[in-house]
C-alpha cells in the first residue's frame, strides 16, 4: 500500500521527484553558501583601529618623515586684543561623530566645562559612527558638524572626496582662536599626521608611537648598559648588544617584535628612515629598491632571524613571549605599557624599562578632529576642537595616562608636581623623545594600503628567511612594480 502510494505520488506530474528535490537542494546549498559568505553589502568600512595607519602624501616625499620636529610659530594672539570670545556662538548645538576611546571619554567627563565656557551644546555620537558618517558625508548633509578620522585609513579617500575643511584659516584667525592656543606648541610629528596634501585637515588628539621596552635584569646579566630613556641607541649599537642578549639554546632571545608581513611595517619604518630611505624619491618615484631600503630589509630581517624567537606571525601574542621572560627587549606600541608594567599580567613587570626606539624614529599616529565642509556651524565646531586640543585638555590627556601631542604638557606644574611624574620620569622622557622623533608618514600613500603592507612586508620576511642581498634586491625591484600597480587602484 505504501509503495503504491509512493508510486502514485511520483507519477503525479505536480509532485517533486527525488532528482528535482536533490538538484534543488544543491542549488539552495550553493545559494546558502553565497549568502553566508561575506556578502558585499554596502556597510563594511575598515573598523576603526586604535593604531591605524597614517600614510604618506605621495607628492611631498621624504621631508615629512625625515625631518625632526621644527617649531612652528605661535599663531594666536591675546584673547582680549583679538576680539576673541569663546561664547560667540552661544546657543549652538553641534554633533560630533567620533570613535569610542578613553580620550573621548575623558572629554565627555569634562564637557560641562566646555558648555559653560561657550554656551554650545555638543552631542557626541560614537555608536557605529563611521558607518553613519560615510553616508552623511556622501550625501553632503550638514547632519554632522565635525568628526574624527585618521590619515592612514581615511585621509586619502576623505581628501579626494573633499570632506575635509581646511583648518589653518581657523587657527590663523585671531577672532576665532584664543591667544593662548599656541598652535606652535604641537609636536611637528603630530601636525604632520594632520597634513594631507600640505593642507591642515584636522587637529591632533593623543599620541601613539613605538617604545623600546627592555629587561633591566637581562641587560645587567649580560653586562650591557641600560639604554637611556630619551637618547636612542643607534642601530649599530643595537646590533652590537643583541648577540650578547641572545642565547638561542636556552630560548632566550635578544628581541621580540612584530614579524608578520603586514604588522611589521610600523616597526620596520624606523630602519628605513634611519638608513636614509623613504617611500618615494625626490622625483616622486617609488624608492623601495634604493640601497637604503635594501639595507633596512636586510637588517630588520637579520634582527628577526638571529636575535628573535622563531615563527613569529601576524597572530603571535608578542606580549606573552616578553612577559614570560623569553626576550630581553621588545619593540611595540606605547599602548601596551600598562600591561607590561602590571605584575598581575606580566611576569617580568618589575624589570621592565622603557626607552625611545633604537634609531630614534618610531612611527607616530594620532586621530584628528576635522570639520565637515557641509556644516553651517564651522566656527562653533572650531570652538570645540580648539578647546579639546588646547593645553588644558592635553594636560588631562597626560594625567589620564595617554601621551599628549603638545610639547609644553610635560612642563605643566600640575603634571610636574604629580606623583606619576616623580615616579616615572624615564617613561615620560622616553615619551617626549619618541613623539619628537615620530614618523607620521609611516605608510605609503595609496588607497589599498593593506595590500601595500603585505607586499613590502613580504620582502622583509624574505630577508628574514636568510635570502641573499642579491635576492632581496631582486624582490625589491619587483616590489616597486607591485607598488606602481597598487597605486593605480582606487
Amino acid at each position: 500500500m505504501d509503495r503504491m502510494a509512493r508510486r502514485i505520488v511520483r507519477d503525479d506530474p505536480r509532485s517533486l521527484s527525488r532528482r528535482a528535490l536533490l538538484t534543488g537542494l544543491a542549488g539552495l546549498a550553493g545559494a546558502y553558501a553565497l549568502a553566508c559568505s561575506p556578502a558585499p553589502t554596502p556597510t563594511p568600512v575598515p573598523p576603526p583601529k586604535p593604531i591605524a595607519p597614517p600614510p604618506k602624501p605621495a607628492p611631498q616625499p621624504p621631508t615629512a618623515a625625515a625631518k625632526p620636529p621644527a617649531a612652528a610659530p605661535a599663531q594666536s594672539k591675546p584673547a582680549a586684543s583679538g576680539g576673541f570670545a569663546f561664547d560667540r556662538y552661544k546657543g549652538t548645538t553641534l554633533r560630533w561623530m567620533v570613535l569610542s576611546a578613553p580620550w573621548v571619554d575623558m572629554l565627555k567627563a569634562n564637557l560641562s566645562e566646555f558648555e559653560q565656557l561657550t554656551g554650545i551644546k555638543v552631542t557626541i555620537d560614537s555608536e557605529t559612527w563611521i558607518e553613519k558618517l560615510l553616508p552623511i558625508l556622501t550625501a553632503g548633509s550638514d547632519e554632522v558638524d565635525f568628526f574624527m578620522s585618521n590619515k592612514g585609513t581615511y585621509g586619502l579617500r576623505f581628501s579626494e572626496a573633499g570632506w575635509y575643511e581646511e583648518m589653518r584659516k581657523f587657527v590663523d584667525d585671531s577672532s576665532l582662536t584664543a591667544g593662548d592656543y599656541a598652535y606652535g606648541d604641537f609636536f611637528q610629528s603630530a601636525l604632520d599626521t594632520c597634513l594631507v596634501d600640505k593642507k591642515l585637515v584636522g587637529l591632533p588628539t593623543w599620541a601613539d608611537h613605538n617604545f623600546y621596552y627592555y629587561r633591566k635584569d637581562k641587560f645587567q646579566e649580560a653586562g650591557v648598559p641600560l639604554p637611556d630613556p630619551a637618547k636612542p641607541l643607534s642601530l649599530e649599537q643595537f646590533a652590537e648588544i643583541m648577540p650578547k642578549l641572545t642565547k638561542r639554546d636556552k630560548e632566550q632571545y635578544g628581541i621580540v617584535t612584530r614579524g608578520g608581513a603586514r604588522a611589521l611595517i610600523p616597526m620596520w619604518i624606523s630602519w628605513l628612515i634611519v638608513y636614509g630611505g623613504n617611500w618615494k624619491d625626490s622625483t616622486g618615484n617609488w624608492a623601495l629598491n634604493s640601497p637604503s631600503a635594501i639595507k633596512s630589509y636586510m637588517e630588520y630581517g637579520r634582527m628577526l632571524r638571529e636575535w628573535g624567537p622563531p615563527g613569529i606571525t601576524e597572530q603571535t601574542d608578542l606580549n606573552e613571549i616578553f612577559c614570560q621572560g623569553k626576550a630581553a627587549s621588545y619593540i611595540n606600541t606605547v599602548v601596551i605599557t600598562p600591561t607590561l608594567r602590571d605584575k598581575a599580567k606580566c611576569g617580568v613587570a618589575d624589570q621592565v624599562g622603557v626607552s625611545v626606539m633604537p634609531g630614534g624614529r618610531p612611527y607616530f599616529f594620532s586621530w584628528y578632529m576635522s570639520i565637515s565642509p557641509f556644516t553651517k556651524k564651522k566656527e562653533a565646531a572650531w570652538m570645540f576642537i580648539q578647546w579639546a586640543s588646547g593645553k588644558k585638555n592635553n594636560l588631562r590627556t597626560l594625567l589620564s595616562g595617554l601621551p599628549p601631542v603638545r610639547k609644553s604638557t610635560w612642563d605643566e606644574p600640575e603634571f610636574k608636581n604629580s606623583a606619576a611624574a616623580q615616579k616615572d620620569k624615564p617613561l615620560y622622557d622616553a615619551q617626549q623623545a619618541s613623539i619628537a622623533g615620530g614618523v607620521a608618514d609611516w605608510l605609503p600613500w595609496v588607497h589599498q594600503v593593506l595590500d601595500a603592507r603585505d607586499a613590502i612586508g613580504a620582502v622583509v620576511l624574505k630577508a628574514a628567511g636568510g635570502a641573499s642581498e642579491a635576492d632581496v634586491r631582486s624582490a625589491a625591484d619587483k616590489l616597486v612594480d607591485q607598488m606602481k600597480e597598487i597605486e593605480k587602484r582606487k
Binding site: L25, A26, L28, S37, P40, P44, G311, T316
Partner: protein, 310 residues
C-alpha cells in the same frame, strides 16, 4: 452529535458557504491560497537568498569602490578577466581545495570511526558522546586563539613536547608547508563531532534483518562493515560529506583567526580574499566576482557529491 450539524446545515443548504468563499477577502484568500500561503516563505527566500545572489552577480560586472563617492560603473567582464589572471586568486583556489579535501576526508574518517564506536553499547557511552559534542558548542574565535597559543613555537604546549624530545620547534603557523594541515587539525576538532552525530543517526536507522542474515551466513565483523554497513550508510555519508564540504569551502573564522591567510598568503582561501577585497580594499566589484566564483565552486561540488548519493 446534534451540536455538530445543526448550526451549519441551514447555511450550506441556502448556498451561503459558496457566497462567503467567492466574495470579499476570504474569498480572495480561498481562491489564491496556493500563492498566498507560501508567499511569506518565498519572500524570505527572495530577500535573504535570491536578492544577495543576484545583486552580487550584477555587482561582479561593475567597478565599484566603497568610497561611496561614485556609483557602480559597468565594466563588462573585466573583473572576470582580472580574476583569471590573478595569481593570488589561483593560489587561494588551490588552498581552498587542499584545505577542503584534507579536512573533509579526515573528518569523515574520524567521524565514521567514532560513530561506529558510539553505536555500540559500553559503560559511559552517553557521557563520552556528550563530551565529544562540546566542540560544536564552543565559541570558535576563543577556541582558535587557544589553539594559536598551543601552536606557538616558543610558548606552545605542542612545541614544549617537541623540544623535550630534543627536536627543534615546529613552526605550525609560520611554515608555509604545514600551515594548512595545522589549520585542518583545528577544523577537525570543531567539525568531527558533527560528522559523528550525522553518521550515528544513520547507523541507528539501518535495518537489522540483513545483519541477521549475514551473521547466519557466517560473515565476519569486517565483512559486515565492508558489505553491509558502508553501502547502507552511503546516502548518510554523502549528506555528511556534502554539508562538511560546503562548510569547509567557506571556512573563514578558523583560518582568519589562526593565520590571517599567512604566512605570506600560504593559507589564504577564496573566502578570505573575498573578505579582504571587501573589508580592506573596499573593492566591491572584484569582491563580488570572487564570491561568484566561490558560489560556482560550492555549487559544482554540491552537485557532484549529490550524484554519488543516487
Amino acid at each position: 452529535m446534534p451540536m455538530q450539524t445543526a448550526p451549519r446545515a441551514p447555511a450550506v443548504a441556502a448556498g451561503r458557504r459558496e457566497h462567503v468563499t467567492t466574495g470579499g477577502l476570504l474569498g480572495f484568500v480561498d481562491r489564491h491560497a496556493d500563492l498566498l500561503f507560501p508567499a511569506p516563505a518565498v519572500l524570505l527566500i527572495f530577500v535573504l537568498l535570491i536578492f544577495p545572489l543576484v545583486y552580487t552577480f550584477v555587482l561582479s560586472f561593475h567597478y565599484w569602490f566603497l568610497s561611496a563617492t561614485s556609483t557602480p560603473r559597468f565594466i563588462g567582464l573585466d573583473n572576470y578577466a582580472r580574476l583569471l589572471a590573478d595569481e593570488r586568486f589561483h593560489h587561494a583556489l588551490w588552498h581552498t581545495f587542499y584545505f577542503t579535501a584534507l579536512a573533509v576526508s579526515l573528518e569523515t574518517l574520524a567521524g565514521l570511526g567514532l560513530a561506529l564506536i558510539f553505536n555500540r553499547n559500553f559503560p559511559g557511552r552517553g557521557l563520552l558522546r556528550t563530551a565529544l559534542v562540546f566542540p560544536m558548542m564552543s565559541t570558535p574565535m576563543a577556541v582558535v586563539l587557544v589553539w594559536a597559543l598551543m601552536y606557538e613555537p616558543t610558548l606552545g604546549i605542542f612545541n614544549y613536547f617537541v623540544k623535550s624530545l630534543g627536536f627543534k620547534p615546529i613552526l605550525f603557523l609560520a611554515d608555509k608547508g604545514i600551515v594548512i594541515p595545522a589549520v585542518v587539525l583545528v577544523d577537525m576538532w570543531f567539525a568531527t563531532p558533527f560528522v559523528m552525530l550525522v553518521l550515528l543517526a544513520g547507523l541507528s536507522s539501518l535495518p537489522i534483518e540483513p545483519y541477521e542474515a549475514a551473521v547466519v551466513d557466517g560473515a565476519s565483523r569486517l565483512q559486515l562493515l565492508r558489505y553491509l554497513t558502508l553501502p547502507l550508510l552511503r546516502p548518510t555519508i554523502v549528506v555528511a560529506v556534502l554539508f562538511r564540504t560546503i562548510s569547509a569551502l567557506q571556512t573563514f573564522d578558523h583560518i582568519y583567526a589562526l593565520t590571517g591567510g599567512g604566512p605570506d598568503k600560504a593559507s589564504e582561501t577564496v573566502n578570505l580574499i573575498g573578505w579582504f577585497q571587501i573589508i580592506e580594499n573596499n573593492d566591491m566589484g572584484y569582491a563580488s566576482t570572487i564570491l561568484v566564483a566561490l558560489f560556482l565552486v560550492v555549487g559544482v561540488a554540491s552537485l557532484t557529491l549529490l550524484s554519488f548519493r543516487r
